[in-house]
């Protein structure tokens, strides 16, 4: 499979500098964007479109920590995707259920501040998980069995993300 790290020409690691990544995306776009090929023969226009799509997609993957982690794992041959990963711990499930109930309550009360506070708490948690994942990725060899240690945290990240998406939808609903 094509590797987004390779497409963007950056090192395959978890803790990428977002500014470097953006700069690389921009440099490549300057060379590949269809605007550069507006006057070119049809075949070249198609080629530029394909490559610009590829570069944009790689950037989208690497910007997102969940998909970046997946890309790293896939490179190492670790199967990813919720069906392939270990089941989340009952503790996590329990906790997320409670948080979601609180979110639902806040929504019913139309309490925008409470929604924001809940989201902020989860964002803090997300930052912690990301930092820890960064350490795990840095410490382990790019070897499938060892990399698999990050899977539980990746699973947690997915739950946190879903919670945050829901919270932001509610925020939108309540503030309009």
């Amino acid at each position: 499979m094509i590797d987004p790290f390779q497409t963007l020409g950056v090192e395959a690691r978890f803790d990428l500098d977002p500014d470097d990544l953006a700069r690389r995306h921009r440099d490549l776009s300057r060379a590949l964007h269809p605007d550069r090929y507006a006057g070119a023969p049809a075949a070249e226009r198609r080629l530029s479109l394909s490559r610009a799509i590829e570069v944009n997609d790689a950037f989208r993957v690497l910007k997102d920590p969940i998909r970046r982690a997946e890309a790293l794992l896939r490179r190492a041959g670790v199967p990813v995707g919720e069906t392939a990963e270990p089941k989340p711990s009952p503790d996590l499930l329990m906790e997320m259920m409670e948080r979601r109930e609180e979110l639902g309550d806040a929504r019913r009360r139309k309490d925008l501040d409470a929604v924001r506070a809940l989201a902020e708490a989860i964002r803090g948690r997300e930052r912690e998980v990301l930092a820890s994942m960064g350490r795990q990725f840095a410490a382990s060899d790019p070897d499938a069995t060892k990399l698999a240690v990050v899977l539980p945290e990746l699973g947690e990240l997915r739950y946190l993300r879903r919670f945050l998406d829901e919270a932001s939808a509610i925020e939108e609903e309540l503030s309009s």
Binding site: I2, D3, G9, R26, H33, A42, E44, R51, E54, E82
Partner: protein, 652 residues
């Protein structure tokens, strides 16, 4: 120089930029490195987007049409942009207005609004094409020969509205190089003029549409972070709100409003609105049966009327900020665009919303057209140092497919940088299911029925097998115009079936072609002439580009053989251009395309390497070696594009 230009019989085609507005349209071009609006013989820059169809079948556009609006409310179309790409049952057809619509007889017909004008049925695409034709001839008067065109569209326009705009351009005989988002165009003109860097919001409230775009300006790179808006929100809605009040004050019953009076009320409302921008109280007179009535409106009254309209823009702004992941105080400035931002209440609202006084030092009505002209200049390759400027825009509304239970599965989320592509894998949900029903939708709502329906099609001939075994891959691609194309593949049992769909909003390519023929005086014959001209323009472009590349990148040719093949194809094409057969020109253009394909790839690799040169040489080599077409990439990514990264895909 000027003299030479005037007398040169074979003038080189020049690129132009068009702002096709709801209320006003403009055409601009770049002269001596600076964008300027082209004026008509009365030194007018704005062409009112008003089209009148007279009893003899003539079409009148602009100020003259505007004058006829009150006496011919059905035959004079204003604000046609609000109907572009809209279905016959669109809410816009039920708002205060003066038109008669054709009752659709088939579901196909219902996909587009059609105006009933005398005994004719006219689509919004045709009406817009009339405005574009006038702009084209304005440009031709000044430049004599018009080349490629950039037409601007509201950033929040969906696929159908974009496609309709592009078709209107085609119908007006224009070579549409690109559709450009209005706020991005404004930012381009603003950024280059003011030489500013930073994070900006563009707040564009025009006659019929509202857009807000958050973008980063960084040394010639204009990167859109997020966009939001409402393609049916603008000054027209203020006019309507005030007109409703005027009609009420005049004692006109809602169920019995003569169209002429409605038009008059709308026009009077607009005049009052403009007056209230300058003063606190405006008096107006309105002619009704039984005499002239005097009316007065204060600014406070007007502000109260438009408050709900203006507040709707706030919702979109807050969401755009959230999507961009920034707060209002991180912005370096808010750029005002569109005539409706002259309304004092709007300015106050924007200032409060963003917590800083907005920037309004460029003409809000011209800046979009100026940006379009700059972009046209860049795309036509005539701009100096064009490679320093880059526009990175986004998809305004999520694209998805309807799945089980009418729920939408998002394939490409809103605010994805374009061009963009994604693929999703689906499977059958019933035993022995032999067809897939695909429904492509656009919008943010969870249920397909609440989103904009773009296209439906059925993939047939799947061999009978148990549920969940068949594999259907659907690929979405959005190009730099923000236009979608979809391919579906059925991959089980090695049988590969491909269906390609271009979303349609009611007008098929054939219909557009037929309209084009009908618009030309001698139908068929003229069409042939046109095709010849188009084929030649394209071929000449290719010849020029190839010759340029032969000078710059000859070292990338693989041996004399490749060079010989290219030279031969070039000579063949040049000979065809001198002839008069469009088909031959097109055929030989393709031949040249074919023989330069491999070399083009190598040249693109070199461009990539140069773009990131000096940064990480080994990584670059990796990039170059692995950069491949999106097809290969997507094939390998199959199923990994679900928003939550679920590799198993979703059953449909």
């Amino acid at each position: 120089m000027a003299l030479l230009e005037i007398f040169d019989p074979k003038a080189a085609p020049r690129p132009i930029g068009i702002d096709l507005g709801t209320t006003n349209s403009l055409v601009a071009r770049v002269r001596d490195g600076k964008p300027v609006v082209i004026t008509d013989c009365n030194a007018e820059k704005l062409v009112p987007s008003v089209v009148h169809y007279d009893p003899r079948g003539r079409v009148i556009v602009g100020v003259d049409a505007q004058r006829l609006a009150v006496d011919f409310p059905r035959e004079t179309i204003v604000s046609v942009k609000r109907f572009m790409g809209r279905g016959a049952d669109d809410p816009e057809t039920r708002r205060l207005g003066t038109y008669e619509f054709v009752e659709p007889k088939t579901p196909e017909e219902a996909k587009s609004v059609r105006f009933k004008i005398r005994d004719r049925s006219v689509t919004p695409v045709e009406v817009s094409a009339e405005v574009l034709k006038v702009l084209r001839s304005l440009a031709e008067d000044e430049l004599r020969s018009v080349g490629g065109v950039v037409i601007t569209v509201p950033a929040y326009f969906d696929d159908a509205q974009r496609q309709a705009t592009k078709d209107a351009g085609k119908l007006a005989g224009l070579d549409v190089l690109r559709l450009l988002n209005e706020p991005t165009a404004a930012a381009l003109a603003y950024g280059l003029e003011k030489q500013k860097n930073g994070l900006f919001a563009v707040y564009d409230l025009g006659g019929g549409t509202f857009d807000v775009t958050i973008l980063l300006l960084d040394d010639g790179v204009f990167q859109v972070r997020s966009t939001g808006g409402d393609s049916a929100l603008g000054g027209d809605d203020m006019d309507r709100a005030l007109a409703e009040r005027l009609l009420h004050d005049l004692g006109v019953p809602v169920e019995n409003r003569p169209r002429e009076l409605v038009r008059l009320a709308l026009d009077t409302a607009r005049k009052i609105k403009h007056g209230l921008t300058e003063t606190d109280r405006v008096e107006a007179e309105i002619e009704v049966t039984g005499g002239t009535r005097k009316l007065a409106v204060t600014r406070a009254e007007f502000d109260a009327l438009i408050k709900p309209i203006v507040e709707r823009t706030g919702v979109a702004c807050r969401r755009a900020l959230r999507d961009a992941g920034v707060s209002a105080d991180e912005l370096d400035g808010v750029i005002l665009v569109g005539g409706s931002t002259r309304v004092p209440y709007v300015r106050q609202y924007v200032e409060k919303l963003f917590g800083k006084p907005p920037l309004c030092d460029l003409d809000p009505e011209e800046v979009v057209a100026l940006g379009a002209a700059i972009q046209a200049d860049i795309l036509a390759g005539t701009k100096e140092r064009a490679d320093e400027i880059l526009l990175l825009d986004v998809l305004p509304l999520s694209l998805g497919l309807e799945t089980m239970g009418g729920v939408v599965e998002k394939i490409l989320p809103r605010n994805t940088t374009i061009p963009a592509g994604a693929r999703q894998t689906f499977t059958t949900y019933a035993d022995n299911q032999t067809g897939f029903d695909l429904h492509i939708v656009q919008g943010e709502r969870e249920l397909a029925i609440d989103c904009r329906s773009l296209a439906r099609f059925v993939l047939k001939g799947i061999p009978p097998m148990p549920a969940g075994l068949a594999r259907l891959e659907v690929t979405f691609r959005v190009d730099a115009d923000g236009l979608l194309s979809v391919t579906a593949n059925e991959l089980t049992t090695g049988v590969e079936q491909k269906v390609e769909v271009k979303p349609s909003y009611g007008l098929t390519d054939e219909e557009v072609e037929t309209m084009l023929m009908a618009a030309l005086d001698h139908g068929e014959e003229d069409l042939e002439k046109r095709q010849l001209i188009e084929a030649r323009v394209e071929a000449e472009r290719v010849v020029l580009a190839t010759k340029k590349a032969l000078v710059a990148d000859a070292d990338l040719l693989e041996g004399d053989e490749e060079r010989a093949r290219i030279d031969e194809a070039l000579a063949g094409l040049e000979e065809a251009i001198r002839g008069t057969r469009a088909a031959i020109i097109r055929g030989r253009t393709e031949v040249l395309d074919d023989v330069t394909h491999g070399w083009a790839g190598r040249r693109m690799d070199r461009a990539i390497a140069r773009a990131i040169a000096g940064k990480d040489v080994t990584a670059i080599e990796g990039t170059v070696a692995k950069a491949r077409g999106v097809e290969a990439h997507l094939a390998e990514h199959a199923g990994h594009n679900a928003p939550d990264g679920d590799a198993s895909g979703t059953g449909s």
